[in-house]
């Protein structure tokens, strides 16, 4: 009933053939030693943050599973086309809703879903950022339910995190098992940082003179993803700054350096919209840069992702992404959405309330596996309790069927066993739309569990795309 990515009809599938031998011939002492080594490596580099801003203990190590998850080149090509298509449509949607709003005028998406969305930023209306890109890094969460069945679970258009895991997982695997990489033709992912740098440089404002200066703006070291911010800054060779390192003078943003002020052209920000600029948004924000939005709005600096990009990625707008693809690109969606019931519709509400035990219910703006009900795993009391919360504010919830997430072989106490997985690839949008062959695979380490969130017993794996 669950698609097993390694075994199909009792046979080991081609992409896993080599790994299957590798596991069978690995003595258990070696495996334990290697697992300890992997953990020590992760600790040493300090990668201990929560994936996707889920909160929890920031110093907790997320379990790393040494068994890679493998895609065939042909499988990946299909995914890649679908991901790029989706990223293009999401950016077209953002351009549109901050412009003329044609998709709303055409009646293809309800106006209130866009204009009353709390992520819709009035301050951005009328702005066309360089190359028309609002979301420069689109993280698309994908689940697999069959050999050729992939579904998009959600889109992340703001600042999707976790890419440092994708890079570190590979790095550690290559260090520990060089033989695996000699004997398999695995597509590299380490060009990600260069592609990211190039993407950011390609959206420098027209006023930029010479080579663009790029910075990563972090809320600071207490942030759960600080490791990732400094990691990416290092790999790209750009400065990691906090709000207080930047200032506005005249119509531009500058960074304080030991050689004096240096003009900044592109800000890859890892802080949320409300904190970006106390003169435009929350006036008590100490994390932002006063005057930044005026400079941005007059074309003096680029911000990635653009303020207001979040209107494209909440769980209610999600249901309209296939419509966006048809409307803006004139294409049929290559990747399907998960069937979704929106509880502010009477029919959907009725159906969901009668079938809570079979469904997954999520908050429209929730994330990290919190604030959700997994019907089949919940007790009667939990379901009743959740039903009351839905009744109080139906518009705040959507429901989906429980998905039969595919499994990938995973190291467990007793050896190797199937565990459920998902995938987050990172699509880069600038002058081109591109992504590295791979992404972050999250795995639900508990037997039978379908929740891959690290806060709820999830781990991570290296993700391989085999060359032709």
């Amino acid at each position: 009933m669950y698609y097993n990515e390694m075994l199909d009809g009792g046979q080991v599938r081609a992409p896993y053939a080599m790994l299957s031998d590798w596991v069978e011939t690995m003595p258990s002492e070696i495996r334990q030693m290697k697992q300890a080594e992997a953990e020590a490596l992760f600790r040493r580099i300090g990668i201990t943050f929560a994936v996707y801003g889920e909160g929890g203990d920031p110093d907790r190590l997320i379990p790393f599973d040494m068994m890679p998850r493998v895609f065939l080149q042909s499988e990946w090509r299909k995914l890649e086309r679908g991901i790029k298509q989706r990223a293009r449509a999401l950016n077209a949607f953002l351009r549109d809703v901050y412009g003329r709003g044609e998709i709303v005028r055409a009646g293809r998406i309800p106006a209130q879903l866009v204009y009353q969305n709390e992520a819709y930023e009035k301050a951005v209306v009328g702005i066309v950022p360089p190359r028309g890109v609002f979301s420069h890094i689109v993280g698309i969460d994908i689940v697999r339910t069959g050999r050729d069945e992939f579904f998009v679970l959600e889109d992340n258009c703001r600042t999707p995190s976790g890419v440092s895991y994708m890079l570190e997982n590979r790095e550690i695997m290559m260090r520990m098992f060089p033989g695996l990489f000699r004997n398999n033709r695995i597509e590299p992912v380490d060009q990600y940082s260069e592609l990211l740098r190039r993407t950011l440089a390609s959206v420098a404002p027209a006023k930029c003179e010479g080579a663009p200066t790029i910075v990563i703006l972090t809320p600071g070291h207490f942030n759960s993803a600080y490791y990732e911010h400094s990691f990416l800054a290092n790999l790209m060779g750009v400065e990691l700054v906090e709000g207080s390192d930047l200032f506005v003078d005249g119509g531009f943003v500058y960074m304080r350096t030991t050689q004096g002020p240096k003009r900044v052209d592109v800000i890859y920000r890892r802080i949320d919209d409300p904190f970006l600029d106390p003169l435009c948004f929350r006036k008590d924000s100490m994390l932002g840069v006063p005057g930044l939005m005026d400079v941005y709005r007059s074309g003096g600096v680029s911000i990635a992702s653009a303020p207001g990009a979040g209107v494209a990625d909440d769980k209610a707008v999600y249901t309209f992404v296939p419509e966006m693809i048809r409307f803006y690109l004139g294409e049929e969606p290559l990747l399907q959405n998960v069937q979704t019931w929106t509880l502010w519709k009477d029919d959907d509400y009725k159906y969901v309330m009668e079938n809570l035990a079979d469904l997954v219910v999520k908050e429209v703006h929730g994330s990290g596996g919190y604030g959700m009900l997994i019907g089949p795993k919940a007790t009667k009391a939990e379901i009743e309790d959740f039903a009351l919360r839905i009744k109080a504010n139906p518009g705040n919830y959507i429901a989906q069927p429980t998905l039969a997430l595919s499994t990938s072989p995973t190291f467990v106490e007793e050896g190797v066993a199937p565990r459920h997985v998902d995938l987050r690839p990172y699509c880069l949008c600038g002058d081109r739309v591109e992504l590295v062959p791979g992404g972050l695979t999250r795995v639900a380490l508990r037997e039978g569990s379908l929740v891959v969130n690290s806060s709820q017993g999830g781990g991570v794996k290296d993700t391989w795309v085999l060359s032709e």
């Binding site: 003329r100 009035k122 209306v125 009328g126 506005v248 003078d249 119509g251 003169l279 005057g291 007059s298």
Partner: protein
């Protein structure tokens, strides 16, 4: 009316600050109700940076002043030709969808009193409802300077039943939004020498989006719609979002502010 506006704000610091950054929504835009003549913003020792028209049709200028600064003055000298459009905002170029202004903010968040008031009013149509809400707010909240502050919410002003134009505007906006009508805060100037009522030349009111008419101004503090005595500067979700001046000084100095606004009618 031909109105001459002089608006001077000076900021002084007991310990000089390193720098000052300001975002100024201090330039009226032209529409049927007002035609802007000469308009000059001067920031002593300052540099004008970003300057653009935003989606709501307001002209915004970013200014920075390099320190050390112990005194900065922001001066407006301008001329505006106004005429009465019965409060209707026509010919104002903007592209923000009115629905955006249905969201409540921290200061317009309604309490039971505001909800009851909003519910109790019946109108024949949207325009009539807006007029009646405006009158009801004016009747409920007595004009009384000094009892509320800049952070006072609509709910707090309702409780005290006293306030100034900002409180009237916030309360009216809260009620209009409750009734499903987009509403926003408008800051501007008011020429008031002729009616002898005690109000400031720096003024604020509400705009409510009423169907085919579009945006219409309502001044609950003066129980009227803006006419030729009013000069419209800019708008926002609430007073903070529509503030003519938003700024931040870098330094440890304590800021004190002195504002002088003068609106006078001049002959052709």
């Amino acid at each position: 009316m031909r109105l001459k506006i002089t608006h001077e704000t000076s900021y002084s610091y007991d310990t000089p600050v390193e720098a000052l950054v300001q975002s100024l929504r201090l330039t009226p835009s032209s529409h049927e109700g007002q035609r802007v003549g000469d308009w000059r913003i001067t920031v002593a020792g300052g540099q004008r940076g970003a300057a653009f028209r935003d989606g709501a049709g307001d002209w915004i200028e970013g200014w920075t002043v390099r320190g050390p600064i112990d005194l900065v003055s922001v001066t407006i000298d301008g001329l505006v030709e106004t005429r009465d459009t019965a409060g209707v905002l026509r010919g104002h170029r903007e592209s923000v969808n009115p629905m955006v202004y249905l969201r409540q903010t921290a200061v317009t968040k309604p309490d039971d009193a505001l909800r009851d008031l909003a519910k109790s009013i019946q109108g024949q149509d949207a325009l009539d409802l807006a007029h009646k809400l405006c009158a009801a707010i004016g009747d409920t909240i007595e004009y009384m300077p000094g009892v509320t502050q800049s952070q006072t919410s609509a709910a707090q002003a309702m409780e005290q039943r006293q306030g100034v134009c900002q409180d009237h505007a916030h309360a009216l906006i809260a009620c209009a939004r409750l009734r499903g009508m987009p509403a926003r805060y408008v800051s501007g100037y008011l020429h008031s020498s002729m009616d002898g009522k005690p109000h400031d030349a720096a003024h604020a009111w509400a705009e409510i989006h009423v169907g085919p008419l579009g945006w219409v101004g309502f001044d609950a503090a003066n129980a009227c719609c803006p006419d030729e005595r009013y000069v419209r500067l800019g708008s926002g979700y609430d007073a903070q979002d529509a503030a003519p001046v938003r700024g931040m000084a870098f330094g440890i100095g304590t800021e004190s502010m002195d504002v002088r606004v003068h609106v006078e009618e001049v002959q052709q």
